[in-house]
């Protein structure tokens, strides 16, 4: 299916067509106006000539007709079969009494010459030349005559054509810049009125499942688009509400699950049986607690949404996580170190979620790295946290699978295999990713790669843990 044509193109095509039609119509109108004007002028000229000829007519007492044309007037009729002709006919008989310039036509019959003296005459049959004529009746000394004056149509047509050509050549080009200007103006208008729409699209594109609190601004939106924006915003409200309900549910579930766990744990701790049973029960209890916490974490991270103003300092988080896990690490004869980045990389993110993700990575490293070795947590500019262990590393073909839920390496005896799934989901929610590489000298390097630091380091949230 081809995409529908862009509004811009539709406007350009339709405007161009309209402009072309308008130009053609303007030309036709001009032609018609000019044509009628030139006819009018020609007719006037013919009548004037006829009158002039009429004035120079006289009739001798013998009854012959005499013409006393001025010289410059006469020279116009000198040419035989020329463009200008005249003749004087007897009105009643039609006999040619005088004339010059070539064969002259007959005055139109059955018409009142006073009213419509004009006629056309085709001296060579249907051919290139056509004569336009005027027949003016005149009465001199009781004789009724008709003065016929003819003028070649060729001349007028040539003149008209030439004028039009000139106009088309010089004036016609006026249409092109006009069309161009129209197109540019409409291009600009369309683009500028669509600009808010493009902005809206960009803002809408930024709305993901993790940033549901963003709404499209309704200010400066063209009135035609406002209903769409409102509809999108109301859909987002409902979506946001869904996420909020899910978050509240997991928070409530956490509360509801942790309290009975606390009761059970307190019960075990205050049992009066032997210490060995207590310790063993407590260990099972811890494993179950850990699993439940991880499941709650999975649910939390699934419903994770980022507020636009939320930011997290990766240096702080790295130190906080390691401060939190250091006692456990030392308990297990491993060491932990943090190498902070020079200037604090602050990312757009949820401090708590990133804390949890990093905690899971370090706990994973703790299960992999041999006793007596050091786990290194390294914060790198622009926005990456690496966790390096000295364990066996992750084979290349397993690197995708370790992030699946409930995946567990054969060698990994503890945990439910949810930790790395939580890490992956957390990074997805932040628009980042988690990668695995080989550490120099063996071991694995897990890296939390964020899309980039926030530009202005406002609203930095601290994550200090006791």
């Amino acid at each position: 299916m081809t995409p529908p044509p862009a509004i811009l193109w539709r406007i350009v095509v339709r405007l161009s067509l309209t402009t072309l039609i308008a130009i053609l119509m303007a030309y036709s109108w001009l032609w018609w106006r000019y044509d009628s004007a030139s006819h009018f002028l020609r007719d006037r000229a013919l009548l004037d000539q006829a009158q002039e000829i009429g004035k120079s007519l006289s009739i001798t007492p013998e009854g012959t007709i005499q013409l006393h044309l001025p010289d410059e007037f006469r020279s116009a009729y000198d040419q035989e079969s020329g463009d200008h002709r005249f003749g004087v006919r007897d009105h009643a008989t039609g006999a040619l009494l005088a004339g010059a310039g070539g064969q002259i036509g007959e005055p139109p019959k059955d018409t009142d010459l006073e009213e419509n003296p004009f006629y056309t005459h085709n001296p060579d049959g249907p051919g290139p030349s056509i004569m336009f004529g005027a027949a003016v009746p005149i009465a001199i000394a009781n004789r009724h005559l008709v003065i016929l004056v003819e003028q070649s149509g060729r001349e007028f047509e040539a003149f008209t054509l030439e004028l039009l050509e000139d106009f088309a050549e010089e004036g016609g080009w006026l249409g092109a810049p006009f069309l161009l200007a129209m197109l540019l103006v409409s291009l600009y208008t369309v683009r500028s009125s669509l600009a808010p729409l493009r902005q809206l699209s960009e803002q809408a594109a930024a709305i993901g499942p993790t940033s549901t609190e963003v709404r499209l601004p309704e200010a400066e939106v063209p009135r035609e688009i406002l209903p769409l924006v409102r509809a999108v915003n109301s859909a987002l409200d409902r979506l946001d509400n869904g996420f909020r309900i899910q978050r509240e549910f997991t928070a409530d579930a956490a509360h509801e699950l942790r309290t009975p766990l606390a009761v059970l744990r307190a019960h075990i701790d205050t049992l009066t049986t032997d210490a060995e049973t207590r310790t063993s029960l407590a260990r099972d209890m811890d494993a179950m607690t850990r699993l439940i916490c991880q499941l709650l974490n999975v649910a939390q991270v699934e419903g994770l949404t980022l507020a636009t103003t939320e930011s997290a300092d990766l240096n702080l988080i790295a130190v906080d996580v390691c401060t939190f896990l250091a006692p456990m690490t030392l308990e297990r004869d491993r060491m932990l170190e943090v190498i902070e980045a020079g200037n604090a990389p602050v990312v757009h993110g949820n401090t708590e979620a990133i804390f949890n993700a990093l905690r899971n990575l370090v706990e994973n490293a703790l299960t992999q790295t041999p006793a007596g070795t050091t786990i290194t947590v390294r914060v790198l500019a622009p926005a990456t946290i690496e966790v390096e262990d000295k364990g066996p590393g992750v084979p290349v073909d397993l690197r995708d699978r370790v992030f699946q839920r409930f995946w567990r390496a054969e060698r990994q005896k503890s945990g439910a295999g949810l930790g790395l799934a939580i890490v992956k989901r957390t990074m997805e929610a932040h628009g980042g990713r988690v990668t695995i590489a080989d550490a120099p000298g063996g071991g694995a390097v897990f890296a939390l790669v964020f899309p980039g630091p926030v530009t202005e380091s406002t609203g930095r949230s601290s994550a200090s843990r006791p």
Partner: protein
Amino acid sequence: MRILLIEDNERLAEFIVAGLKSAGFVTDIFGTLADGEAAFESAPYHAVILDLGMPDGNGLDLLKTLRARGSSVPIMLLTARDGVQDRVRGLNDGADDYLLKPFAMEELIARLRAILRRPGAALSVLLSSGDLEFDTIGREVRVRGELVPMPRREMEMLEHLLRRSGKVVPKRALEESLYGFEDEISSNTVEVLVSRLRKRLQQAEAAVTIHTLRGIGYMLAETKL
């Protein structure tokens, strides 16, 4: 010592009372914030254990009320919500410690003792770890009863580490504790002092270790055998 426990889950409250009793604490239980507050007004308590999720409101409100009245009684929060933000808010509002459910009874007792030792609560003046004892008022350090003399700055540092034994003390916190002694702290002052203190404890054959966690801080713990 008398402890006020404000907890709405009766079973949990019973077990906590039993656990604290075995550690020598006397505990009064109240199931609502209102009752807890009334009890706090009517009797002197050495510490309060406060559950945040109560039927008649959020424990944080009671915490703020008590602190606003100028009470400096150590308060430990119990919560089922494992949010970092909750924790930070609780501590900002004046809680002395924060325990996430479920917790080991041992942990609760140890943390309770730790907050009871804090200045202001100064009931117990003896800090200890392994065979090391520290008299915070007499300013004496003993290993298996033998006096270990040390300069004041090292002693100050040891006190800091002992107060949070088993936990990491950030290097910055140790630096700040030394400001009273020197106007200028060079970047390696803490390292030098820790290394001297470590050597001194080793010579005294104390069963404690000061761990250095690069980029994180220092932690004093009983030496594992």
